[in-house]
Amino acid sequence: MRKSAKDLPIRDKMKNSDQFSRRDFVKLGVAGATVGAFTLGGWAFTEFIVDEGTTDTWHKSVCRFCGTGCGVMLGMQGKKLTRIRGDENAHNKGVICIKGALLAELMKIPNRLLIPKIRKNGKLVSSTWEEAMQLVAEKFKSSIDNFGPDSVAYYGSGQLFTEESYTANKLFKAGIETNNVDSNARLCMASAATGYVQTFGKDEPMGSYEDIDHADCFFIIGSNTYECHPPIWERIRIRKSVNPNVKIIVVDPRNTKTAQQADLHLAVVPGTDLLLLNAMLYLLVKCQNIDRKFIDEHVQFMYEEKKVGFEDWVAFLDDYKPELVAEELGLSVKEIQTAAHWFGTSKASMSLWTMGINQRIQGVFLNNTLNSLHLVTGNICRPGATPLSLTGQCNACGGIRDTGSLSHLLPGGRFVQNEKDRNDMEKLWEVPEGTFSERPGYHAMELFQAMVDEKVKTALIMCSNPAQSLPNLNHYIPGLEKCFLVVADIFENTETANYADVLLPTALYIEKTGVLGQTERRYQLVEKLIEPPGSAKSDLEILVDLAERLGHGKLIKSKTTADVWDEWRKISAESKYDFSGITYERLKNECGIQWPCPDVSHPGTKRRYAKGDPFVEEGKEIQFYGKENNRAIVFLRPYIKDEEQLTDEHPFYLTTGRVIEQWHTGTMTDKISELKNASKRGKFILNPIDAHRLGITENDLVVVTSKKGKIEGPVSISDNETPGVIFASFFDSSFLINKIVNDQYDPVSKEPNYKVTAVSISKVKNTDI
């Protein structure tokens, strides 16, 4: 019979006991520990298998290419740049374009120039830095001694760091005492700079990219923003997608990718758009869409040098009644009225423009009138309302315009022709009174003409490729051959390097440290992350070396980028371009800072001339302090027909520009296979109606002739081109389109008229080949 539990021995009782024993506790503990071990072990395993990617470290930087000046994050694997991402905390909010996305490929381009070369018997041969720089210094000295300081020149670039342009400007103007300092920024931003100075008294836009997020009407003129400033276009598009009532007006002779997404595309006849702007002003007045109060408080009217009244301005606009100008514009009256209505009635209108306006015979007038559209409607100095000229290059603003590295300028918005400005800079640079010549030096076109005329004997060209980018190229090439040319570049095979007498290898992008200043007055820092290849040096090192050899070592006392920056920012405190609060330290920690920024605790200035700008007096909402009477100027700017008019001989307009995949003359981007393959080769693009009439089909070889010459090339046919207009990009060194582009320039800004050249086009017959 089975015993009951109470009859069991104690040992067995304990086994069968309901009590929680030590053994049970241990078992439970082990079970718990096992579960925990599996949990933590599993976690450890998942940590172990996480793919951390290829990047060791990330570094904040700025894109190398255009004036959008996108913040980027550079992913380094050891000493190699392997990843690029848009900086999500920068103004571009993580968005960059395809060129910026391939910066890692840029740094891998082979066949970099590694050592200096000297031309001997027509051939570039390897040299040493000592030999090369000794020769350069001798040539400069010889020219200066025999022909005077104006027999030498410096041609710089809006792609050099600010510290480099500043040093070159100081060396040549205060050291060598020549104002023959100019740059490729003359070819892109001079009209915008002059326009701002004339209208507001100071250069540089007053608005910011942030205004895009508040604008209700975008007036985009002379800009293929989609291809030339893609992140800005993306921001406009996003603004519209969030706010479908936003209007986008695009004024462009071509039906570009930008124009295709516009609410209103005004395909004006090339060269006529000043008629449109004045017609819009006429309508704004007639429809009472002007802000009379704003005008009375902040605006004055001028015709050339003469002050005129509001009524004079209104009377001037009578010549631009839409019915009178529509035909010449190639538009309908309704289109002009719609543009004016949208601009005038929107809560905040923003204009954006670039080379289509600047690279024109009347570039300055166009800039003035664009600014006027905003002044008379009060669309300025408040969120979403601003005229914003888009800068072409990554450092045309900070490096060239702000440092005064143009032939008529001195740093901080000063002019060589102004005695007080010269005296101010002489004191700041601690040079004797009378050091600066009062005569402006050669501007870009004059400079290359002076080479042709052998007035300039020796020149230093840095980070630019004028032998491909100058208009009417064939005319200026002989000058490059005659002049003793010192070229500092990263490659040996650029068009300009072909004419170099001395070729100096330079550092590229993150192989050196420096500051870039982009469209919206934002200064950003690029830090050196890798060593330049071979014996390449930074452009600053080259300039410092040259200064020493020319006996100006004491003048160029700042020898490192940090020292130059500190010197320049302290000098800036003596002007309205004050950025003395922007130290390297701050730039390392912040995503760029917009000047004015007068001290290290100042956050920077989003909108100039408005409350918040440190130069706007207390109690004022708006103050155009660049003008003595605090009033911006609305100029009465008459339309003058372009000299390049269509004739029977030249019945087409040629207009040149960029494509999204290529940067400028393609010296960098055309060596990146992804970009080269995507852009294909340089070609003409023609409308199907014109093609059909001329018997031209896709990929035919055509010859395009202007007054300046002719060039052969393949043709592509596209509905996106307007009848009567031919487009070609200038990135391809095997398709030197600038040979036939006319080299007239704006009489005030001296910027060439790239956008309007009268040409003929015909198919190359088999017998011609």
Binding site: V50, G53, I84, G94, C97, S673
Partner: protein
């Protein structure tokens, strides 16, 4: 409640009943009767095994849902931004345009194939452990690189994608093996920037508060469901409908 949840619940209750019955019977009879053996088999092996399978499946599936990701407080900015009809982030734009009908987070964050699923689950487990042990720092950051093939698995080959000439260099870069171009380079942020997700930033409060959302487009019940969930999570109370 969904079907799988009902199944799980029934299995769980059944298992519980069986185990308690089993325990009572053993205590009463002090021996294992044949009927108890059968009940034991069911209670100790079959029911728990079934429950485990069902629970596993349930977790595997529900962890793909947006609600699952949003269960962690630190993920709120992503979810709230995604639902915000004014947001311009990629997640918000995809959500607003109904480009991904459900499992919005999982669809983009799971790589291709079984390996992708395993990686996603492993990451999810890692995130869970990191979260419950509070060994994360805000703003949280994506570890490694986002695989752009996840974008391409939907977008590549579509007429819209192929029409964009600027995709040519991207494809070439991928084919070259370089793969250093990301879709996010041109198309912008997928989620709010790390700066905005940092505690103390002016936007942080808005990004962690469901009441800041304005939602359009999605079906009413789905919006209500998600919003309810998020509100309940933060406030630990039912919002008024």
């Amino acid at each position: 409640m969904e079907l799988i949840e009902w199944v799980g619940l029934i299995l769980g209750i059944t298992g519980f009943i069986l185990i308690t019955s089993l325990a009572w019977m053993i205590k009463k009879y002090h021996r294992i009767k044949p009927s108890i053996k059968i009940m034991s088999l069911f209670a100790i092996f079959i029911a728990p095994l079934l429950s485990l399978v069902v629970a596993n499946y349930h977790v595997f599936e529900t962890s793909k849902e947006v609600k699952s990701c949003m269960g962690c407080h630190v993920m709120l900015p992503m979810g709230i931004d995604m639902l915000d009809s004014n947001s311009t982030s990629l997640a918000a734009r995809h959500y607003r345009n109904n480009w991904i009908n459900k499992q919005e987070c999982y669809s983009c964050h799971k790589d291709y194939g079984l390996n992708g699923t395993f990686k996603a689950k492993a990451d999810g487990y890692r995130h869970l452990l990191t979260y419950v042990t509070h060994t994360y720092k805000e703003p949280i950051k994506y570890r490694g690189e986002f695989n752009i093939n996840n974008c391409l698995q939907c977008h590549e080959g579509t007429s819209v994608f192929m029409k964009v000439e600027e995709h040519e260099p991207v494809i070439e870069n991928i084919k070259k093996g370089a793969q250093n171009v990301s879709c996010l380079n041109c198309h912008g942020l997928a989620h709010p920037s790390s700066l905005r997700r940092t505690p103390g930033h002016p936007d942080y409060k808005m990004l962690t508060s469901p009441f800041s959302m304005t939602i359009k487009t999605k079906p009413e019940n789905e919006i209500r469901d998600l919003k309810f969930f998020l509100t309940h999570l933060i406030l630990n109370e039912k919002p008024k409908n």
